[in-house]
Subunit: 736 residues, 2 copies
């Protein structure tokens, strides 16, 4: 479970790939004493500032303020001086280099051996973001001077003068350089460095304390208004190794009421505790891919990164880039519910519960957003947000993506189907289901052809503002169906107070809309059209487009893309992957074949959906090819923008391929359904799921699948649609 | 021909209504010495600066820079001091007030009698923007102290420290306050005040010279870096009247190569010359409305304002607000071709020719815009611009309005049909027709139902990004047809060099697209659907919406509007009005009835189209009601935003109602067609048109119509579709 780079070819990429994070704080893998780099960064999940959005032409109901994750104070600074001369490791002749992510024990190690004025100087670091003490990161910094003694000085800094990353010509990044934080106080003493900062507009505060643990060097401090510095000086003997531990504690007012920092233990204790934590995590959550080390490593990396990214309380979920970079400004999208949450629902339901609870706390903002968009009832979750307000500055590929409502409802019920947590259903999930269902009733209308939903944007952002987007209508139908199902469940549980929120007449109207929902289907081709007019448009021949013009959004005006049959990502195919009952197998196959030709996969949310459907449709070779592209995306930087952060949705997609694609694992009204599909060269896979309080291991080879009840009560399982009681262990053949 | 206000109830409105302009310069009717006012302004048509457009999220091909008409130096400042005390006329008790626009002689007069410390003080001004010397404006400022002698001082200023008007919450106005001009030099001497200014980004320069003509007071001057001031002091005897002429000369590098100012004549000479100019203009261009003084006055005002607004060279056309205010930032839209130009084509073809020549000079920018939007051929005129680049910051209701191409082609051919100016066709119109037709071929595509044009926005901005907008497809069809017609005309005229620009294969393809153009028609209702999906949307019941929620665009998110059947303005109905052959009479009637119910007329471009079609469809009472709303719009401030400028398109619409609506006057391939429709209470109308070198007077009563050839050769005229030779005078009954 180790990822290693032995040549520093793409430092910007390494900044992301080797970041450390623990769901609360995250630190990019910058070289401590670097003078030039791509993006130096330290973050807290959900710690944001806000700023007005400027529009060339502004219309009613537009998002007014944007929340952006703040780049926090820089805590990584450690500069080494030998005989008064600064050692800039990245500029010196390199004798050896190794950068390692140890996923098994949860830390990152980097070691440089450089030629410094004729001597081989070794500088190595270990870093962790502690899972046992969430507000702590540790940098262990070791210097070894092998051949002759040296006078050294090490400057360790805590710097409050930072600005957010930006790139005005890429819509996936912040357009303007902001310095959202101001320093409230800056202190330095030989015990510790200390910085208090405040976000200018949100008012959020943080307190960061840096303590040093070392032996042998003298310490003095310096400070300015915005920077505190500890300077360690002394002489190292030839061959002597010197280690400085930089203990970084941070707390903020978004997550904590008391910003006091706890007393610290011995540094090595945190590394040990981290290893123990990870051991327990992997036992429960590792997805074994049999017989393919590279895939295994990539899959481990996906799961590991998701653990690093997911919020530890109900104040935050998972942003598009986790805590690894500033792409998409730290916003939470539908990615969290559709792509990431299924992993946690299946393997760590308590984490999924917190993610859903985050959405519940933001329900008032969703009610407000619905009103802003002219609705007379219901809630519309913002397309991108941190603390609740819509932050999308381009509604056609933003607020118009109403499907986020259905996606959140979907996640609510996936969690419920897997846990039967009826109390949580009553208190937090039901209000979400009710208000999202109400929104659909207001957004759509009954016509001759059924209940229609006009002027929305589906997942595919290369076709915006359409009528009857297949994915949206299917999702809305399920959203309503889930509400009706939840009502039944709550009735059974006699949650009468909760049920008083909705009357019979409204439920009847919702049932009518659900039953009459118009689901686009084209008789001639037997495919599900992406929307009412998609099939009438001019197809774009992707083979005619030069490679350097991808992703298309960076090279073509939206109108050009919208006018053509071309997809940024899976849309109909994703609906088929999430909602098994949304089409016949033949229609799924026809749709797959149709859309595959015109899909660019310019979005990282696309490949996994194609992998799932390929597996389900009996194309295992194709499924594995898409799967490989999915799991490799960040490690191999195939989208060429991993330097801006990992793609958390795609990482969640890796699990979706294994679970929905290969294992055919679905939670639904029936319960737990498993219908494994053939693999091609993958020898098998194994993972555990948590279901209704039981731990079930799913272990597949190329020909058969074994289910084992590892703990908890016996459970009913539907295998290829047939009910079985799982009391201990059962093995069955994988269907052709 | 006089418009008078006798109470200063709405100073902001008066600033617009009583502005003076001459197609080159324009000055709002600010009170000379005002301290507080709505928007003080002095402008040159086409004098712009540019600034980057900021987007919250920016995509490929977006307009990068916006041109905005600059507010120029303030030339209106004249402050009066009596015994050292400033006379702020608008704050003093008012004994009498009169503000008069004399359209017959082309000047504005305002007179205040105020109670100044117990004496009745009269201050009156006359202003003109000279039509005979286009770079000259004159303010005649007269003070009369009736009862006792007084020491007076008059400060006349030329001030370069000005900022553009803005309002961030109204998309019809600039979002940001800009100070686009910097002062290059500022001089003051007792002969004149002088200011040289430069627009910071466009680099355009202006030189403004203010000379004073007066007798009796001593003059001294003061100056700062940005302001020059002449101070006139002395004693006025009781009952003595004192007049100061402020002669304002301005020239700029957008229109002139030499900025030297000519020597001036006696001030009164310009007032006399103006009266002569206006006399000649009215003789040719007045539209007589018989028996209704109020309508007559409003119609005169429309024609007068259009003369004031239209550029005097081929560097500018007509902006949405003319030279009367900063609404829409001085941009030229399709308004100029579809709404304003028909008046000039019919009455002053040389002005229309210059407006078309303006579009021809901008063809290179339109070619570039087509490329930016991904087209492989053709030209796409920008939706809003001054000097050629797209300035729309919201493409769904901007650049996506491809119909502007058809509108310009329409104007080209209207001009040609009326003039048979084959040389101009060859040199300037044909390249426009060719490149716009080419664009359609690239933008659309052949399908089973015909040639379709997807993802465009029609005139109705409450429904954006649609497929097969009726107005657009009808216009595109005509655009192609016009090109083919022009080819025939050029063949006849043996313009072989010009014809070499296009080959037979391309013409055949254009003919095919033209013939197969898909024109939406709904068999069930017999209406022309506005676009492919319009009829499927939820109708909006306008009666349910409170009055204060109009115009809807200021109160509802675009998505809400786009999702409903609701129109900002005539779309299908406008197509019927412009292109008589676009539908059967029954279909026009059904469409009129259908769209009338859901049209808010939130755009000022709407009423006239409904008036035209009501007249043509035999609803004279309704036609007159819409007509009255059209001509009254600015005078009565019915849209409540005339303070930001007049609505030039609507003013042109006033003529469209008389010509296309009542007289049934069309220029087309056949020639001149006249098919008068009944009026209801309007007793008749009379106007002259210029046709193929002849002056023809059209004189209608409620029952009959007389055509008289006033000058030029005999002409063939189609009356109710039947050809007649007009050699002298002919009278015919108006059909039922």
């Amino acid at each position: 479970m180790i990822i290693t780079n032995t040549a520093l070819q793409n430092p910007a990429l390494e900044e992301t790939v080797f970041h450390v994070a623990n769901g609360y704080l995250g630190m990019r893998a910058n070289i401590e004493g670097a003078k030039k780099e791509y993006c130096r960064g330290f973050y807290i999940n959900g710690f944001y500032d806000q700023s007005p959005i400027t529009y060339g032409e502004k219309f009613q109901g537009y998002a007014e303020e944007k929340q952006s994750m703040c780049k926090l104070c820089d805590v990584q600074g450690i500069s080494l001086f030998i005989s008064g001369k600064e050692v800039l490791v990245q500029d010196l002749p390199r004798l050896a280099y190794e950068h390692t992510l140890n996923m098994q024990e949860g830390f990152v190690k980097r070691s440089f051996i450089v030629d410094f004025e004729g001597t081989a100087l070794q500088i190595s670091t270990r870093r962790l973001a502690s899972f046992t003490v969430r507000n702590l990161a540790v940098i262990e910094y070791t210097v070894q001077v092998p051949t002759q003694s040296a006078d050294i000085a090490i400057h360790s800094t805590l710097n409050g003068d930072v600005a957010n990353f930006h790139n005005a010509s890429d819509p996936r990044l912040a357009a303007v350089a902001e310095k959202p934080l101001q320093v409230l106080s800056c202190k330095a003493n030989t015990e510790s460095l200390f910085l208090e900062m405040q976000a200018k507009h949100s008012g959020l505060c943080l307190a960061c304390k840096v303590s040093h643990v070392q032996n042998g060097l003298a310490c003095r401090v310096e400070q300015t208004d915005t920077m505190a510095k500890a300077i360690f000086t002394g002489t190292l003997q030839a061959g002597q190794s010197y280690t400085l531990y930089k203990m970084i504690q941070i707390k903020d007012t978004y997550h904590f009421t008391d910003l006091t920092h706890e007393a610290l233990q011995d540094p090595s204790r945190y590394f040990t505790a981290q290893a123990e934590y990870m051991h327990a995590f992997w036992k429960k959550s590792r997805i074994i891919i049999k017989g393919d080390e590279a895939l295994q490593k990539a899959m481990d990396y996906s799961i590991y990164c998701l653990l690093c990214s997911v919020g530890f309380d109900n104040k935050f979920s998972v942003s598009a880039k986790g805590l690894s970079g500033e792409g998409y400004e730290g916003h939470v999208f539908w990615d969290s519910e559709v792509y990431v949450m299924p992993l946690f629902i299946a393997t760590n339901p308590s984490i999924a519960k917190q993610m859903l609870s985050y959405r519940h706390t933001l329900l008032p903002y969703a009610l407000e957003q619905a009103q802003k968009l002219g609705h007379s009832q219901g809630a519309l979750y913002p397309w991108r947000s941190i603390a609740g307000g819509e932050c999308s500055a381009y509604y056609p590929a933003g607020s118009a993506q109403y499907h986020i409502n259905a996606d959140i409802a979907y996640a609510c019920m996936q969690y419920y189907f897997a846990t039967k947590d009826v109390d949580f259903l009553a208190t937090e999930l039901f209000p979400i289901l009710l208000q999202t269902a109400r929104l659909w009733l207001d957004a759509g209308h009954f016509t001759e052809k059924g209940f229609c939903i006009d002027e929305v944007t589906g997942p595919d952002e290369y076709t915006c503002l359409v009528n009857n987007n297949f994915y949206t209508n299917v999702g809305a139908k399920h959203n309503m169906q889930y509400l009706l199902y939840a009502v039944e469940e709550l009735r059974k549980a006699a949650k009468n107070d909760v049920l008083a929120q909705v009357g019979e007449a409204e439920l009847a109207e919702i049932r009518k809309a659900m039953e009459q929902m118009y689901i686009p289907h084209d008789a001639k081709t037997n495919i599900n059209p992406q929307d009412d007019s998609f099939l009438q448009k001019k197809p774009l021949n992707l083979a005619d487009i030069p490679k350097e013009k991808f992703p298309l959004l960076l090279h073509y005006h939206p109108l050009y893309l919208y006018r053509h049959q071309v997809c940024k990502q899976a849309d109909v195919v994703l609906a088929h992957a999430l909602y098994s009952d949304s089409a016949t197998r033949e229609s799924k196959q026809a749709s797959f074949d149709y859309y595959e030709k015109i899909c660019t996969h310019d979005s990282s949310l696309s490949l996994c959906a194609y992998a799932i459907m390929a597996a389900q449709l009996g194309m295992p070779q194709k499924a594995e090819s898409y799967f490989k592209e999915t799991v490799d995306l960040d490690i191999n930087n195939t989208h060429k923008n991993t330097h801006d952060g990992i793609h958390t949705a795609n990482m969640g997609g890796s699990f979706l391929v294994i679970s929905k694609g290969f294992a055919g694992l679905y939670f639904n009204e029936q319960g737990l359904c498993i219908s494994p599909n053939k693999t091609h060269s993958i020898e098998g896979y194994r993972f555990h799921i948590q279901y209704h309080g039981s731990d079930i291991c799913i272990d597949a080879t190329q020909t058969e699948c074994t289910l084992q009840l590892c703990s908890g009560p016996a459970q009913q399982v539907y295998i290829y649609g047939k009910a079985h009681k799982l009391t201990d262990k059962m093995t069955f053949a994988i269907a052709q």
